[in-house]
Amino acid sequence: MAVESQDIELFIGTIRSLSDYDFSEYSIKSFSRRLEKVLIDNKQDISGLVKKIKSSNDFLEKIVRDITVNTTELFRDPKAWHTVRYQILPKFKDYESINIYHAGCSTGQEVYSMLILLYEMDLFYKTNVFASDINIQVLEEAKKGTYKYRFNLDYLSNFDKVIKDNPYNTEDFRDVPYSKYFDINKATDTIKMKPFLTSKPVFKKQDLVKGSNVFYTKFDLILCRNVLIYFNFDLQNKIFEYFHQNLFDGGYLVLGMHESMLGPITAKFEKKGIMYRKR
């Protein structure tokens, strides 16, 4: 079922009239693909879907969840975590306190990866960790910190690559047991983060499109990986501007492996790979 541009306009208009969500500046190809998928999964055409959205706010929230992409893993892209571990976090060693913000945290795996790394680096207790997402349902999952075990074996190999191995020195191996941070239960098919991790972060609902800081503080490090790819160029730049305003001087922004700032905003940051430092 091909989605026409009128369908997208009708959908976006309906959502906008009923809620605070605004998808009008999302990247067109991936958004139409998502809408197509939602229509197929719900066995609806666009008018049927719109009717149902109008009749139930819960359904609207569910559709918002389904239309946004929530792909994430523990220590996703170990190379990115090597950057965080060896190039960014050491700079904060002598700070009195550290503020880290996960923008678009989805179900929380990135947040727990960060907490584990902070603990390993003895930075855990002086760090404030903030995390936001557009969707309340995924935030509830993030707070729980319980994930499926099967199909997620990458979590463990990623953990090994980031926490146990040192890519710059093969002799530097740390035999950190998984049980220090999470419990694996094969019977219930779960990986469950320890309470000292789940009680630490502050999770809040936030629609990045609105560009307002819901945590009322500035940050030393912002991670926003594979979130802005769903936005068009203009909206991306607005959000880069928002990040810039909400970073402390010299603070860092980390993007996804194939994301990059383009245009005038680049002058405000110093770029090194996926790492951007506020000028």
Partner: protein
């Protein structure tokens, strides 16, 4: 043949040799952007672009989201991302769930390229182990583009090419050398 301005190629990890052969045969002044969407083996995620670059006469890059498409470059869909071509000649990327068990999915890149370039596009499907790409090639043909399938007799795994031929009346079935000849004549 001057009407074709963009080339998109799909295949799986097994088509690596064919792709390098094609890339090494293109002249340095080949100005048509080439898009590659290749399935990768799960444990070999990086190093692909480097390996292709060694043999390619043209620069091979894994594009970033919203990067503009330039002539004379070969663009490889990055590991673990779907790669779309948007109206306005730039890329967008997505990490949504795999399609046809694949991320990048050949179908998604082909659909978006067919929509953007219509009759200016050549789509080529090489050796591959699943049906991903079949509907993508159909979309190229349906939009007025030119559709080519690698001769299944020459393919290590025929699934992708035969699936493509089942859903589309393809314009040509060619061996690797003939694909190269075809591309060289486009200039």
């Amino acid at each position: 043949m001057g009407k074709y301005k963009y080339i998109i190629i799909g295949g799986s990890a097994g088509s690596f040799q064919v792709v390098t052969k094609i890339l090494s045969a293109l002249p340095k002044n080949f100005d048509k952007p080439v898009f590659l969407c290749l399935h990768r083996l799960k444990h070999i995620r990086s190093g692909f672009v480097e390996a292709l670059s060694i043999k390619s006469t043209l620069p091979v890059v894994e594009p970033c989201d919203k990067e503009h498409i330039r002539p004379g470059k070969v663009y490889l869909a990055p590991a673990n991302y779907h790669m779309y071509i948007e109206l306005g000649n730039y890329f967008s990327l997505s990490t949504e769930e795999p399609v046809n068990h694949s991320r990048p999915a050949i179908d998604l890149s082909f659909f978006s390229a067919a929509y953007a370039y219509k009759s200016k596009l050549v789509g080529i499907i090489l050796s591959g182990a699943n049906r991903d790409g079949a509907l993508g090639l159909k979309s190229v043909k349906d939009a007025g583009g030119y559709s080519i399938v690698q001769d299944p007799d020459e393919c290590q795994v025929k699934t992708m090419t035969t699936a493509s031929m089942q859903v589309t009346q393809v314009d040509e079935v060619l061996k690797t050398d003939q694909i190269i000849d075809f591309l060289l004549k486009l200039d």
